[in-house]
């Protein structure tokens, strides 16, 4: 840079990288491909609907659209109610999540325990909370509560990473100029975290929508969730699909809005090139103690609520009830846990395999990517729980559907994260491989795949706990075994202690699975860097 050194480095870098991409991984030229992909998707749908294939539970496009038109008043009332609940609940969850992450910005060492507490809360299956909340005064706000809960985890994770993303040099500058803690937070960490906060917002939109819909299954009398359950029970498939379509549409709108916000925040406030480092700790012993304190506190709060509120066991069991129920037949719960684990693990393995395979295929043949891009936009916004009953009508009631739900759950994050993992290769390595005349396959095998391993591990960690949660939901709705089934059976006979024993086992399972996955991820990351 010798001339009057004015240029836009980021633009230059962009151009450089896009030049390189164009050379070794040709980009699609046809903007028509995504359109063709969309049309293909619609065609498949129409064909299935028209042939009454897959159990006849999938209506044709025209009957679904007809339903959207005919029942536009009911649907729009439901959509606005659900959207409002998702927005207000999601906003509360977002604020709580950002606040918790903000605490980690003030007390960096609280980061580890805060994240782990978030993992713990995320492991609580909301479907189990619904019946308890129904008996309480908060009943009309269940959709908002679920929306908030669905948002908190990803918000805490994303925004605490944001607060950690501020460069150490900037922190030093602030300290040297005698900045107070508050100044450091409001002038440095908060603006620096804004792109991440916008990212959290983007992720929150479909999550809040899903939470609100789930919450409406528990005694609301208006909303998309109510329409879905009513349509499901009254066998109004066109209405069910019209409602699901509307829910997905709203999620897409929210997701796209969030994406635009995220982009503009990143443009304005700059996204650091490097990933934020890991959370600080107090050292092993303290850390363990603080982390263990969260579940202990949770159990104490629970006991206090039962005692102080004089809550009858038929509404919610005490921790003692749950322990007794578990003690009476541990084998039943552990056996069910084994079955849930098999479904979730199998789903994870198959889903991850499919995700990697598709990401590789798309990397090798970019036109496939453009072709599939409409699907890639849709899948993250689809509340998978909505499709469990539909999969049930296709695959039958039993393990196949549970497994398929887990596959769907695992597939998408792995696909998306692998796609960026395969694209993120060490700087200059592409040129190196090209100079040595390595072909596309060899570059993939020796460069892109090994380089993407850390990304793969992140994807696996993110999917693990979710797979267990979705397995339990699927078992609850239409399984023939597993923890979800045990929960459902115990609940029907109002054995709340037994039902919650199954829930607690599932929480422990989720947290353990997450811990194992993140330990594995750390080990690999150390080897790879």
């Amino acid at each position: 840079m010798t001339g009057p050194d004015v240029s836009n480095p980021s633009v230059a870098v962009d151009q450089m990288s896009s030049d390189r991409t164009a050379r070794s991984w040709p980009r699609p030229r046809l903007p028509l491909l995504p359109l063709a992909g969309s049309l293909c998707l619609l065609l498949v749908w129409e064909l299935i609907g028209w042939r009454q294939a897959l159990g006849g539970s999938i209506p044709t496009i025209q009957s679904t659209v007809g339903e959207l038109w005919d029942r536009s008043d009911v649907l729009s009332r439901a959509a606005s109610a659900t959207t409002l609940r998702a927005l207000s609940g999601g906003l509360v969850g977002l604020v709580i999540g950002i606040f918790a992450a903000g605490v980690t910005a003030w007390v960096p060492r609280a980061g580890g325990p805060t994240l782990r507490t978030a993992v713990l809360i995320n492991a609580i299956p909301v479907v189990a909370l619904g019946p308890v909340l129904m008996s309480l005064a908060v009943r009309p706000r269940i959709p908002e509560i679920f929306a908030a809960m669905a948002v908190v985890f990803s918000t805490v994770v994303t925004s605490s990473a944001g607060f950690r993303s501020v460069s150490p040099a900037s922190q030093d500058v602030f300290r040297v100029y005698g900045a107070r803690r508050a100044q450091r937070f409001f002038r440095l960490q908060l603006p620096g975290a804004l792109p991440f906060l916008a990212d959290a917002l983007r992720l929150a939109v479909p999550a809040a929508m899903l939470g609100a819909i789930l919450g409406e299954w528990f005694g609301a009398d208006l909303g998309l969730g109510v329409l879905m359950i009513s349509a499901m029970r009254n066998i109004q498939y066109s209405l069910l699909w019209a409602t699901a379509l509307l829910a997905v549409g709203l999620s897409v709108v929210g997701y796209v809005t969030g994406t635009l916000l995220e982009r503009s925040a990143a443009a304005r406030f700059g996204r650091p090139a490097e990933a934020p480092g890991p959370a600080e700790t107090w050292g092993r012993a303290w850390d363990t103690a603080v982390t263990l304190a969260a579940p202990v506190l949770l159990v104490l709060l629970w006991q206090w609520w039962i005692t102080a509120g004089d809550v009858p066991a038929i509404v919610a069991p005490s921790p003692g009830n749950v322990l007794t129920a578990f003690g009476q037949d541990p084998a039943e719960y552990l056996g069910a846990a084994g079955m849930t684990l098999i479904s979730a693990g199998g789903g994870l393995v198959i889903g991850a395999f499919l995700g990697v395979a598709l990401a590789v295929a798309v990397t090798l043949a970019p036109f496939v990517r453009a072709f599939l891009s409409p699907l890639a936009l849709l899948i993250p916004t689809i509340p998978i729980v909505v499709f469990i009953p539909i999969m049930g009508s296709i695959l039958g009631y039993g393990m196949a559907t549970v497994l398929a739900s887990c596959v769907l759950m695992a597939f998408f994050p792995v696909y998306v994260i692998m796609l960026s993992g395969l694209a993120a290769r060490p700087p200059g390595s592409d040129d190196l491989f090209e100079v040595y005349g390595a072909g596309r396959f060899r570059t993939l095998l020796r460069l892109a795949l090994p380089a993407s391993l850390p990304a793969f591990m992140v994807a696996v960690r993110l999917s693990t706990a979710n797979c267990i949660l979705i397995a339990i939901s699927a078992e609850w709705l239409l399984g023939r075994g597993g923890l979800g089934r045990v929960f459902s059976e115990k609940r029907v006979v109002l054995d709340t202690g037994g039902a919650w024993a199954a829930v607690v086992v599932s929480i422990v399972l989720s947290v353990l699975a997450y811990a194992v996955a993140s330990t594995a991820e750390r080990r690999w990351a150390q080897r790879w860097s």
Binding site: M1, A169, S170, D172
Partner: protein, 263 residues
Amino acid sequence: MTDIASGGLHFDGVTKTFASRSLSVAALSDFSLQVAEGEFVALLGPSGCGKSTALRLAAGLEQPDAGQLTVAGASPHQIVAARGLGVAFQDNALLPWLSVRRNVELPFKLAGRPVDRHRVDELIELVGLSDFARHRPRQLSGGMRQRVSIARSLVLSPRVLLLDEPFGALDAVTRHRLNVELARILDNERTTTLLVTHSVEEAVFLADRVAVMTGRPGRVKRIADVPFGRHRDRTTQADPRFQALVADLTLLLDADLARGANT
């Protein structure tokens, strides 16, 4: 207290050890260095010799394990509290969401003082960025960002200026040009300055005295006076005395590195 004692930067027998779980590394051991008021001293050494640690101690970013450290007659913490320091790092540490002008104003805001608009204008002018005051850092080149960083370090008229490889990430040509500019700027400002660098040319070109460090443990090996006045420009480097001193110091560093490699 005399003027010199109150104005300069003094390390007396400073020791700093970093301990991790398995090993401890002595970054500085019995390190002593005096920088008089208004003097510019360059701390020169290979990477890892502890020179950045010395600067971070002076900035109050690290605490010494032993020894005395006074900055403008006070402890680093007192001087930080009095907003008496200026810093510039290799990582420019500009806030990407603020314009050039707002970045330069930042120390006023952090000190809770009213922004001296005249001073800000003056410094932006001094680093030659008057036309870019409203731009954001990402719209500037690397060299321009470092100039903003220099302007920011001077805006509060600090008692002591601490520069840690401020041009370390730039290409040789840009780096040289900025060195010329920095010499001009500091000729104006006359601030007590400690520059940490691994570039012999940069050290000799800018400083009144060059302190050469050895690594493990970090200690000053030799102090060389630079035989030029403060007013320096492109012709300075052509001076045979400049070339001789650079060659001399380079040899010194090289010998030290070779010794390190043999052990």
